[in-house]
Amino acid sequence: MKRAARIVSMVSLVGTILPPLLFFTGQMDLDATKLWMLVSTVSWFAATPVWMDR
């Protein structure tokens, strides 16, 4: 469970920074960037408490 949660957290961090980078290089529009950042935010806060500081 904790291992899976760690993986989700790592993917969420990538999902937080990758969309802005894709927006910067012109490969993603701003609305999609904002949406992916929100999805990544939700998944980060859902998964990280499972393994961090416990």
Binding site: T16, P20, F23, F24, M37, S40
Partner: protein, 466 residues
């Protein structure tokens, strides 16, 4: 017992308050990297970044000033704070009490608590700009000093009440959220800069520097009511915005847990993530706002973050503001409780939060945050000079260290006079000499050290004679 359990669950651990931290409680390097990275990537960074642009700073002045100023801040922690902290291993308050006496420390606590209250007020203001976005509240402008709408007052009141109640009853929950949020928050701050840069028309890394000089940090005239910032302003601000913590010695309480004094290099994580990257990113967002809506000079972290990163940006502002307001209100409460030890910790925190909330209604503190932060450091800094001189140089200059502890006095007038005269001198130079507040901290620290030596020798000689 039930009360004990509640206390343990809802308060941070304040151990070894009147004794050196024992070896079994010492912490490793990573603890300090995480703590400083989290604490210095706060909601207020989104206020400070834009205020540099409002002050008409140029790109080279800002980047070089921040780089060198932050380096000097790290070196101050490494060479001034941590060596004393890891030798004495005492809290700032206990160390000060030994030198200055209980009554003078009470006065210091009062000053510290009041400044913490106003700082927390600025954090509540930042949060209210995010909450106000949802409800389309009329928000304050760059030069507003007073609350400008009922909606704003109600929003600040609601945010302040929420933060205060949680600080009083759920401190550890928010502290845990702060730990969890830190890595994500740093990336969202970086995302602000990347998205803002692209929206300004920067399409590659190679284009960044030339366009940054042309579009972001143009070095032109400051906005109305703002002082023009040069390299020196930026460098001294970056160095001294945490003056109370390093050369003011407040972080003795933190580094007394460090196994080695060099662990203070971990402060670089906070300085270069929060006070370099986050400030640059926030100022890029403000430049974008000025570029797209030239008449809109408002510095409102909520709308700035929302326009760049949508709801994730708003969540970042709220989490960043909340997780830093939480310990700030708590620390202010601790400072006040030291003055009235019989009062309940919860009641003190609630009253402190109420004062911070009222302060947060007045946008003047947040909109003048650069000046306020400089003033905050200046007020507490002289006591840092007193500690350094007393710890390292007392014997060399021929006076007794830890004077109040040895003599049993409630006020060591040598420290008290050094504090008050330095502060009065610095404020007089600022108000009458036309020197900006960012430049008086460094000479002020040496003046406080000099005055403490002179008064200590005079007063202790008098004691011996009598």
């Amino acid at each position: 017992m039930a009360e004990d359990t509640e206390t343990r669950q809802t308060e941070p651990v304040d151990e070894y308050e009147r004794e050196p931290v024992p070896a079994k409680a010492w912490l490793g390097f990573r603890s300090f990297v995480g703590q400083y990275a989290g604490e210095h990537t706060a909601g207020t960074e989104l206020m400070i970044g834009p205020l540099f642009i409002a002050s008409g700073v140029s790109a080279i002045d800002l980047v070089a000033g921040l780089f060198i100023g932050n380096l000097l801040a790290v070196l101050s922690w490494v060479f001034l704070t941590a060596p004393i902290a890891t030798r004495a291993r005492l809290t700032l308050y206990f160390q000060l009490e030994k030198i200055c006496g209980r009554k003078l420390v009470t006065l210091y606590n009062l000053a510290n608590g009041v400044m913490f209250c106003f700082l927390a007020g600025a954090m509540v203001t930042v949060n209210a700009t995010a909450a106000g976005m949802w409800f389309h509240i009329a928000m304050p402008g760059l030069n507003d000093l007073y609350p400008n709408s009922i909606g704003w007052v109600v929003t600040v009141l609601a945010m302040g009440a929420l933060i205060t109640v949680v600080a009083a009853y759920g401190y550890n929950v928010v502290a845990r959220i702060a730990n969890i949020a830190a890595p994500w928050m740093v990336l969202v701050f970086i995302a602000f800069g990347i998205i803002g840069a692209r929206q300004l028309g920067i399409q590659s890394v190679g284009e960044f520097w030339p366009k940054a000089q042309e579009l972001i940090w143009t070095g032109g005239a400051p906005l109305a009511g703002r002082a023009k910032f040069t390299f020196w302003h930026v460098m001294f601000f970056a160095w001294f915005c945490n003056m109370a913590m390093h050369i003011g010695m407040a972080d003795l309480s933190v580094f007394r847990y460090a196994r080695k004094s060099w662990y203070a290099v971990g402060t670089a994580a906070g300085m270069y993530l929060g006070h370099f990257i986050a400030w640059l990113a926030a100022s890029i967002l403000y430049a974008l706002q000025l570029h797209t809506t030239p008449g809109n000079t408002d510095v409102l972290p909520g709308p700035l973050a929302y326009n760049a990163a949508g709801i994730a940006g708003l969540i970042c502002v709220i989490v960043a503001g909340w997780t830093t307001a939480n310990p700030t209100i708590y620390r202010a409460g601790l400072a006040f409780q030291a003055i009235a030890p019989a009062s309940s910790r919860y009641r003190v925190t609630l009253v402190t939060g109420a004062v911070a909330t009222v302060a947060g209604m007045f946008p003047a503190i947040a909109m003048k945050l650069l000046d306020f932060v400089a003033l905050y450091g200046l007020i507490l800094m002289p006591m840092g000079a007193v500690i350094v001189v007393d710890f390292w140089l007392a014997k060399r200059f021929g006076f007794r260290s830890n004077s109040a502890e040895v003599s049993g006095t409630g006020v060591n007038w040598a420290a008290g006079l050094a504090w008050i005269l330095t502060l009065a001198g610095c404020l007089a130079i600022v108000s009458m000499g036309g020197i900006q507040i960012y430049f008086v901290g460094l000479p002020g620290w040496f003046a406080a050290a000099f005055l403490f030596v002179v008064f200590s020798r005079l007063l202790q000689r008098k004691e011996v004679a009598s």
